[in-house]
């Protein structure tokens, strides 16, 4: 069985489209997206008297036609941001009223996800190609129900799904980050969550852990060291491990066949931990490149026959 795994596309529409085409491109039997589906940035496009004004990556544009508007919206979405068309009054309201930006973000994220799932329906031939998604620490709670209701995408968060005899255990929670995001828990709590779902696995030797957080100190979790103001120190050259010890302990003690991770975009890599092959394909969603792992699973032997990290 061939699996394509990617993660952390953070709202990049071009990466989502590529993800939907990945099964056909890599001749994979199913595709898995390991969390952090939603974006981090919202770009206001101010509608004013028949034209629109927007600043993208520091460059101000005045858009005169609907075509120009659509082009810039596409550019913004491809970069992983949400274009939000607002009036000048709405922009003022957003910037002044507490909570207004949060609410608008939620609207844009959920609407965007709805659109993505509609696309998936067509691309995945109505569920003929299995597609599995779970949350990541940056994903708002509202996405869970939306994905659950999709007819062609399986929501794997906190579940054990059977992939032709390979149990897939998924968990979008991570250890605490400096950004205090949605699905974070202290290590002991995270360990308890992992154990709760791992207990449902019938055969650990064939199991796949799909945990968003990478295991601590494995090289799959190296992020730039930051100072108190979240500025990388020493020119970003100093890296430090920021993964989860609970995830690491779970891998070491359960020794699944394979563990798949994301979360730390810079830490693309592969690590063997006993009999477990651990992979973080990393993410460069901002470039419109879908990094992923193509995995050949040998059903008879219950092991990973081949893997390849790709920049699609």
């Amino acid at each position: 069985m061939k699996v394509f795994f990617a993660t952390d596309i953070h709202g990049s529409e071009i990466c989502w489209r590529k993800f939907l085409n990945a099964a056909a491109f890599y001749k994979a039997d199913l595709v898995v997206l390991g969390g952090d589906v939603t974006g981090k940035v919202m770009v206001p496009i101010v509608a004013d008297g028949g034209h629109w004004k927007v600043t993208v990556r520091g460059q101000a544009y005045t858009l005169e036609t609907q075509q120009e508007l659509e082009d810039i919206q596409r550019q913004i979405r491809n970069a992983g941001s949400y274009p939000a068309i607002v009036s000048p009054d709405e922009l003022q309201h957003l910037s002044q009223e507490e909570g207004a930006v949060d609410r608008r973000f939620t609207v844009e994220m959920t609407q965007s996800l709805d659109r993505w799932l509609d696309m998936a329906d067509g691309k995945l031939r109505g569920g003929e190609i299995p597609c599995i998604l779970n949350g990541g620490n940056d994903d708002i709670w509202e996405i869970d129900d939306i994905i659950e209701q999709s007819p062609c995408v399986s929501f794997a968060e906190g579940k054990v799904l059977d992939l032709d005899g390979f149990p897939l255990v998924s968990m979008g929670w991570t250890n605490p980050t400096p950004w205090d995001t949605f699905r974070e828990a202290p290590e002991p709590e995270l360990a308890a969550k992992i154990e709760a779902v791992a207990a449902q696995v019938p055969d650990m030797e064939r199991a796949i852990f799909n945990f968003h957080a990478p295991p601590y100190g494995t090289g799959l979790d190296e992020a730039p060291a930051l100072d108190d103001t979240l500025r990388p120190i020493h020119g970003g050259a100093v890296m430090k491990p920021v993964g989860s010890t609970a995830v690491r302990d779970a891998i070491v003690s359960h020794q699944p066949m394979l563990s798949l991770h994301g979360h730390i975009h810079e830490s693309r890599g592969v690590k063997r931990m006993g009999r477990t092959l651990s992979i973080n394909p990393g993410s460069v969603y901002g470039d419109g490149v879908l990094q992923g792992a193509v995995l050949d699973l040998n059903a008879k032997k219950g092991k990973v026959a081949r893997y390849l990290l790709v920049n699609g």
Binding site: H10, I14, R17, K18, N21, F25, Y26, D36, K40, V41, M42, V43, P44, T55, R57, G58, Q59, Q75, N78, A79, L91, L94, S95, V101, F105, N137, D138, W179, D180, T181, F182, P224, A225, L226, T229, L230, R231, P232, I233, H234, G235, G236, A237, V238, K240, H265, E266, R268, G269, V270, R272, V284, G286, V289, V294, L308, L309, V310, N311, G312
Partner: protein
């Protein structure tokens, strides 16, 4: 959900609090890296010893300024690549993405891996002539046999090379965390040491230098009237120098390829992390490298001016020419900072000054293998190298195999370097091979707007224009000009010692080795059912 508005009263974007949204790194940090990489002391002064006598009609000062201007375009080109594809791995990532996997691997393996084996003995030699020899000579230590002269023997060169390799390997295994802090203090200390040297040369007269030189040379080396003796020896060997000045341009341009030995590396540590990119990032990345480069150029110019004022330009070049002709005065490499320290007749001061100035070396030596291990890791993750190459030991977090792949060949080549005088001339390939790697990155930056249109359109670099012309690709073209000019000169002119038959074979062997590695990897992986051609193939969007 916590959010942040960017753009003042009328925000141009809103950020929600999410992992990885970090502030840009400071220009100060990157300029320190750039300045230490274009190390005017360890590499620059080392190179002047060779370059001045090799091209006696050229002007070092003018050539450094011309080189600085020309390399500034390389800075623009690389800043464009960094903000467009801001990934650790640099040339390897850019070239594999834009030019293809095979080209990327061959260029990165030769320019950032194999050739750095050769830089180990160069670093070792610099440590020997700028640290061990002058300190031993100043303290008149006679151990090991022969005192300071021992470091110039075959055994001495080899042992110091091994010390350098062990030191660089140890620093890699420690990680950048502690070393980056050390680097910062080394940079500050090195600048203070240089300021002391400038002060000494500025506030002392030429006559004072001559008498101090004669006095200390007699005290330490037993040479009488050493200043005049040096000039006579150079004249006797047939060397005549050109007075300090600015021209003529023709012979001065011949010095430019020699200056690349130290001035071509402002982009050495250039990686950028951060996901929200804007025009300010280009300015920040560019400024760090550009200011670092020009600090080096300015320090070099100051050095030349104070040398000309107090030491005497002709004398400095004569000292260098004697070393160039393998008859160094006092049997020691002519370290100008050693001689500047002689203006104070106090051994403790002289040693402390040498120690402080050695910070230029120690702040820089740890970078020797850092880039190499990154390339080895990247190639292993791409399945071009065996998985083991990327293994990190569980206990000590040391990248064992990648270090072995660096250290073992470096030690072997260090031994050959130490015991074969012929092989030493090959070290000049060290610049050439990296320049070839840069050339392919320059080609990549020129092709970027055509090959990766969406990526380029979205890049802040695409909006840097002068009179409507995009600056980054044009800078790429000018950089290609710089690198092609240097390559042609290196291969054409005998004085650079690069174009010898054996040297060319040596370089060729490295490229063949990289190509063979890549082809073997393709074949082996295909047999395993892995198609390496898929690695950088883009998935269709529609």
């Amino acid at each position: 959900m916590a959010t942040e508005a960017v753009g003042g009263e009328a925000p141009t974007l809103f950020l929600r609090k999410a992992t990885g949204l970090v502030r840009g790194w400071s220009v100060r940090d990157s300029l320190i890296y750039a300045c230490l990489a274009t190390n005017f002391v360890t590499l620059g002064i080392y190179e002047f010893t060779f370059a001045g006598p090799a091209f006696p009609k050229g002007q070092l000062l003018t050539s450094v300024v011309i080189s600085g201007i020309w390399v500034s375009f390389l800075v623009v080109a690389y800043a464009g690549l960094i903000v467009t594809i801001p990934r650790a791995g640099g040339d390897y990532v850019w070239q594999t993405r834009i030019l293809g996997s095979g080209v990327g691997f061959v260029m990165a393996a030769t320019g950032w891996w194999f050739i750095l084996w050769l830089w180990a003995p160069i670093y070792g030699n610099i440590l020997s002539v700028q640290f061990f020899q002058p300190i031993w000579a100043t303290l008149k230590w006679t151990w090991p046999g022969g005192g300071y002269a021992w470091f110039g023997t075959k055994n001495g060169v080899f042992i110091v090379t091994v010390i350098t390799i062990v030191l660089a390997g140890f620093l890699v295994s420690l990680g950048m965390g502690g070393y980056a802090r050390i680097q910062k203090w080394c940079f500050i200390g090195g600048l203070i040491g240089f300021a002391v040297v400038v002060g000494l040369l500025l506030f002392n007269s030429h006559a004072s230098f001559v008498s101090s030189f004669n006095l200390e040379a007699h005290k330490l080396f037993g040479v009488s009237n050493a200043y005049n003796a040096t000039n006579h020896a150079a004249a006797k060997a047939g060397y005549t120098t050109t007075p300090f000045g600015f021209g003529p341009l023709g012979p001065t341009m011949l010095l430019v390829p020699a200056m690349m030995f130290f001035i071509l590396w402002p982009n050495w540590g250039a990686t950028l992390y951060g996901e929200i990119r804007g025009a300010s990032d280009f300015r920040r990345v560019f400024s760090g490298m550009f200011i670092g480069l020009w600090i080096t150029v300015i320090l070099t110019v100051i050095f030349f001016l104070v040398i000309a004022k107090t030491v005497g330009w002709g004398f400095y070049q004569n000292l260098n020419s004697l070393d160039y002709n393998l008859t160094p005065q006092f049997g020691i490499w002519p370290y100008p900072f050693l001689f500047a320290g002689w203006l104070v007749h106090n051994t403790a001061f002289q040693v402390i000054l040498l120690l402080v100035l050695s910070l230029w070396f120690f702040g820089w030596v740890g970078t020797l293998f850092l880039s190499s291990t990154r390339v080895i890791f990247a190639a292993a993750f791409d399945r071009v190298l065996p998985d083991r190459a990327a293994e990190v030991s569980e206990k000590r977090k040391v990248p064992v195999w990648s270090l072995i792949l660096m250290l073992a060949p470096a030690v072997i080549l260090g031994a050959i370097y130490a015991y074969s005088a012929t092989f030493r001339t090959y070290t000049l390939d060290a610049t050439l091979v990296i320049a070839v790697t840069y050339l392919f990155s320059a080609v990549a930056v020129v092709l970027l707007p055509f090959v990766k249109k969406d990526l380029w359109r979205a890049s802040p670099a695409s909006r840097i224009k002068v009179f409507g012309v995009p600056v980054v690709p044009v800078s790429g073209v000018i950089t290609i000009g710089l690198l092609v000019y240097n390559l042609v000169m290196w291969l054409w002119k005998d004085q650079y010692f690069v174009n010898s038959h054996d040297s060319l074979l040596y370089m060729l062997a490295m490229y063949v080795l990289a190509i063979v590695l890549y082809v073997v990897a393709r074949v082996v992986r295909r047999r395993q059912g892995i198609d390496l051609g898929l690695i950088n193939k883009e998935i269709p969007v529609e």
